[in-house]
Symmetry: C2
Subunit: 188 residues, 2 copies
DNA sequence: AAATCACTATACCGTGCGGTATAGTAACTC
DNA sequence: GAGTTACTATACCGCACGGTATAGTGATTT
């Protein structure tokens, strides 16, 4: 494995364990068996390292999420796919999921939140567009696209957290249950 | 207002805005118009300051939550009260709510999470006990007390976040809607 | 063979951090 | 009025932080 990948791997572990602020560049270098100039050669700054980490791990998920949000006049189907892709995202790299989750919920004016902000937007956008499209076919939903987006993703996180803390699987059944519960919230 | 209260107030604003790690003791002192020895007189350390902040703001909520979890063979009633007390907690001091939320979701081995850990336990415990009691009256629920605890509190947070981001009220209606949705998740 | 390039180590810089030694003041205690 | 206590300011400490200047190395290009 080349140094760049080694650095990214160790940075992920440390950032996810101790947080962005509390993890020193020197620590990442020690763990990776390299020195600071090497790290600064590949990544322009500590922040640049974090940005690269986010980019590499988010990109495939966002792509799948966009596909899942392609509206074909079957909203339940879309919701199932959104949940499935999100569950899969969490399941495939739990460490990164935890890291991005902690950053999303970090104080708004901190650096960690500032770095992850564009990715939050990239995640919300397709889901918001999906609900906006679906609004046109269902008057009940009018004007609530943003609320649905937040609740759906928030609920997905609640389920993921639950599965993680209970050490149970993030399987198809759980995705189905989450979908049913969410749909009930819409049409009640 | 005395210095102790001034310090606590400014610390809350700064910690909630920039995070525990990124907020310097000096900054808190400047904002409060005092110097470091004064701060260290009232609070033994930066960590002690954070602990005092948590204690003062959490205590009344935990007390109300415990009352809300007193089981009288009417689980829906309990759930409504849990949601209401939690919504009220978030509504009464949004800044503190945001601070504790960011800390709950901070990396597990960071200092911020370590400080808030006992309070998470104090919050989960009464809710968990409630569901454990209710299990005895409803076979369907057996063995899921912890899952219900996590999902209920997670869902409450999703609603609170939604209300905050949409700038809508955390009113009785929303608590009712959340309860219905949660109950549907249990009995489906 | 000279020059260029990507990459890496040693050693260092300025800054800001959490925390404190010292000393003083004003208000109570005996 | 002497001693004690609670509180606060000046000035400082040691340290770890993010980042870099310098100097190489070995492979590739010309």
């Amino acid at each position: 494995m080349n140094n760049r990948e080694t650095i990214l791997e160790n940075a992920l572990v440390l950032f996810a364990s101790f947080g962005y602020d509390a993890t020193g560049v020197q620590e990442i270098c020690d763990q990776s068996g390299i020195t600071k100039p090497t790290l600064y050669h590949y990544f322009r700054s500590k922040r640049g390292l974090m940005e690269a980490l986010l980019s590499e791990n988010y990109t495939p998920y966002i792509k799948r999420l966009k596909d899942a949000c392609e509206y074909r006049r079957d909203l339940p189907q879309n919701i199932a796919e959104v949940l499935r892709s999100t569950f899969r995202f969490a399941d495939s790299n739990l460490l990164f999921y935890k890291l991005q989750f902690s950053m999303r919920n970090a104080p708004a004016r901190g650096e960690a939140y500032d770095i992850i902000k564009p990715w939050i937007k990239a995640q919300h956008e397709p889901v918001f567009t999906l609900f906006s499209e679906a609004e046109k076919d269902n008057g009940n939903m009018r004007g609530r696209a943003q609320a649905y987006t937040i609740t759906l993703l928030g609920m997905a996180n609640a389920y993921i957290q639950q599965a993680f803390e209970e050490n149970t699987a993030l399987n198809e059944d759980l995705a189905y249950q989450a979908r049913q519960q969410f749909m009930y919230g819409i049409f009640s």
